[in-house]
C-alpha cells in the first residue's frame, strides 16, 4: 500500500505550440500537437516525482465546460457569457433532450493505453456543474437536467473503462459548483451517483474547490458513491510555517465524516495554491501534510495542488509539483 500518493488535479499550462492554434488546427495536426504536449507534460510530471499523472495536464481539452457540451446533442452555444472582468465562457442552452454525440475523452485513454502508462486519473466535468453552468430551456427543473447530464457521464465512464481494460481506472468527477446552492445538495448527490451507477472497476474521485462551506459536501459524503475527495485548502492557509494551519480546519470535519461513513474514504489534500506564483517551500507543505496526519491515516491521504495548475506557467507548475513530492518524501521518512 502506497502512502500519501501524490497526484495532480487536472489541467496544466499548455505549451504555446498547442495553445496558440488550439482552435484552428486541422484534425490530424491537432492530434499530433496534443499528443506531443501530453507526452512532454507526462515527462515533466515524472521528473517532478508525481505518482499519479492524471491525463498529462488535459492537453486535449481547452476548458472543462465547452469540451463536453459541444459533444452533446440538445445543447446550443449562442455565444460567450461573462464570468468576470473581460473573461468569458461559452454557456450552452439546453433546448431539447440531451444525449452524447461523441465521446469526450477517448483520445486520452487510447494514448495512455498505447504508451502503456499506468497510474492515471481521468477528470470529467460533473453533472451538477454542467447543469449549473447551462441555461435550462427544456427540462422541468434543475434536478431533472442534472440527472440527464449524470446519465450521459455514466455512458462516457462506461466506455472509458471498457477501453481501459481490466485494471482499475481512476475517474475524477469535477464539481466546482457543488456547494454553490446549499439547498440543492440532494441534486449534487443524486446526479453524481447517477454518473457512476453500475460501473465496475473504477475508483471514483470528486474534486471540489473554492467552496464557502465544505460542510455541505461532508453531509452528503456518507451516501455518495465516491472514494476520494480532492479538495482545495492551501489557498485559504497562511504561508508561514508553524501556524495553526487555519486553512486546514476542515480536515477535522472530514475525519468526523469518515467516522460515520461505512466504506473507506480518502482525502486529497490541496497543499499548493494555484493562484499565485509563490513556491511553497517543502517545509511548509510538510507542515500541512503533518497537520492532516493528526486526523487521517496515511493510506487515507493523498497529496495534490488545490486545483488544476493551468493558471501558472509550466515552469512554476513544475516547481510546485516538485516541492510537493519532496515534502511527501520527507514526511514518509518520519512515519
Amino acid at each position: 500500500m502506497e502512502y500519501l500518493i501524490t497526484q495532480e488535479i487536472g489541467s496544466f499550462r499548455k505549451p504555446t505550440y498547442l495553445s496558440s492554434k488550439f482552435r484552428s488546427f486541422k484534425r490530424d495536426e491537432f492530434e499530433n500537437a496534443a499528443r506531443r504536449a501530453t507526452t512532454e507534460t507526462v515527462d515533466l510530471f515524472r521528473k517532478s516525482g508525481l505518482i499519479n499523472i492524471g491525463v498529462g495536464g488535459e492537453m486535449y481539452r481547452w476548458e472543462m465546460y465547452e469540451h463536453p457540451v459541444s459533444r452533446m446533442n440538445g445543447i446550443k452555444i449562442f455565444g460567450p457569457v461573462r464570468s468576470f472582468d473581460n473573461r468569458y465562457y461559452n454557456k450552452g442552452s439546453v433546448f431539447g433532450d440531451i444525449s452524447r454525440k461523441e465521446p469526450f475523452h477517448m483520445e486520452e485513454i487510447r494514448l495512455f493505453k498505447e504508451l502503456n502508462l499506468k497510474n492515471i486519473k481521468v477528470p470529467i466535468t460533473g453533472p451538477y456543474t454542467l447543469m449549473d453552468w447551462s441555461f435550462n430551456d427544456h427540462y422541468k427543473d434543475r434536478a431533472e437536467l442534472a440527472l440527464a447530464f449524470g446519465k450521459i457521464i455514466n455512458q462516457e465512464i462506461r466506455e472509458l473503462k471498457s477501453a481501459w481494460g481490466d485494471e482499475t481506472l481512476q475517474i475524477q468527477i469535477d464539481e466546482p459548483a457543488a456547494t454553490t446552492h446549499p439547498e440543492e445538495m440532494e441534486i449534487v448527490l443524486e446526479s453524481v451517483n447517477e454518473s457512476v451507477e453500475g460501473v465496475d472497476g473504477i475508483e471514483t474521485h470528486l474534486h471540489v474547490c473554492y467552496s464557502s462551506d465544505y460542510g455541505l459536501l461532508f453531509d452528503i459524503i456518507p451516501s455518495m458513491k465516491v472514494s476520494v475527495f480532492n479538495l482545495e485548502f492551501a489557498n485559504r492557509d497562511p504561508i508561514s510555517k508553524g501556524e495553526e494551519r487555519k486553512g486546514y480546519a476542515d480536515v477535522k470535519r472530514f475525519k468526523e465524516t469518515q467516522e460515520v461513513t461505512t466504506r473507506k474514504i480518502s482525502l486529497g489534500l490541496g497543499v499548493t495554491d494555484i493562484h499565485r506564483d509563490f513556491l511553497e517551500p517543502p517545509e511548509l507543505i510538510m507542515d500541512r501534510i503533518n497537520y492532516a496526519l493528526k486526523f487521517l491515516e496515511p493510506d487515507a491521504l493523498r497529496i495534490n495542488p488545490d486545483c488544476g495548475l493551468r493558471t501558472r506557467s509550466r515552469e512554476v507548475g513544475f516547481e510546485k509539483l516538485k516541492n510537493m513530492n519532496t515534502a511527501r518524501e520527507q514526511v514518509l521518512k518520519g512515519l
Binding site: R82, F84, N86, Y89, K91, F95, N136
Partner: protein
Amino acid sequence: MELISLLYGIYPRSENLRKAYSKWEKGLLSSMEVSSIINEESLHYYDMMREAALNYFTDPLFNWYDILRPLALSIEGVKLGPLARYKATNTFYREPEIERIGKLGEIERFKEVEENPPFPIYHEYASDSYLHFLPGINSFLKMSKVKGDVKEIKLGLKNTYEEIVRRIKIKNLLIYEPFNADDFRVYEDINKSTTLFLVINGSEGNFELGNGSRFFSIIGDDPYAYSRYCEVPGVKVVDAQSTKINEDVLGKVKHYSDDFDRIIVANTESFDFLPRVIADKKIFSFRGDE
C-alpha cells in the same frame, strides 16, 4: 392597462468591445482608443433601444467591470478585495473592502483608472428614456467587506450618492438592489431631487418610508407588495437566465390589469448574464402588445 418597458443593468458587450478590452489589457490599445470604442458601442446600444421601442433603459455600463467597481474605485477609503461569487451564479465581482467613505473622485470625464476600463462612468444619451444607474446602498454593503462602522459608512454612501446626483445633474435614476434590502429610507432625499426607479429583490420585506414619501416606481417580483409606495408598480418578468426569445410578457402580467392602470415590465437581472446575440433579440420581447 398600459405596459411600460424598462431594461436595466449591464448590457452584454459585443465581440468588438470584448476584443478591444483584450487588447487594452495587454497594452495594445490605449485608454483613449478604448474609450472611443466604448462611446461608439454605447451609441449603437441606444439605437437598438430606440428600435425596440423601450420606454426606459439604463446606461449600458459597458465600462463597468462589475456593478460596484467604478464606484469602489472612486471613493477614498474603499479598496478592491478578492473575487467573490455574485449570488449563486458563475459570475464574479471584486469584493470592495470599505474602511471609510471618503472623498468622491472624478467620475464625469475621461480618466484612466486601475483595474477597470477608463471613465467617465456614464455614457449619457439625451432622452427622457435614459436612466442613470447606481447599485443599491444596502446591496453595496452586503457585497462588501465592511471594516469600519456600518452606520457611518452607510451614511457616507448616502451622501456620496447625493453628490453624484448633484454633480451629474441626474434627473432619472435607477437604483438596483440585487440583495434583500432592509432600509429604503436611505433613498428619501435622493427621491426628492430625481425621478427614482427602485429595482428590488424579492417581494417581502420591511418597507418603511417617511410620511407621504413615494418613489416613481418600485420594481420587484410582486407589484402588489409595494404599490402603495410608488406611482407606477413594476414587475421583473423578462428572464435574464433563459435564452428563449419569445416570452409571453402579456400572459405574465395581464392578471394585474384589474388592479393597475399602468405597470412597468422589466428584466429579472442584468442582460449581461445572456450571450449578446440573445440579448439583442430579447429586447423586442418587453412590449407584450407586439
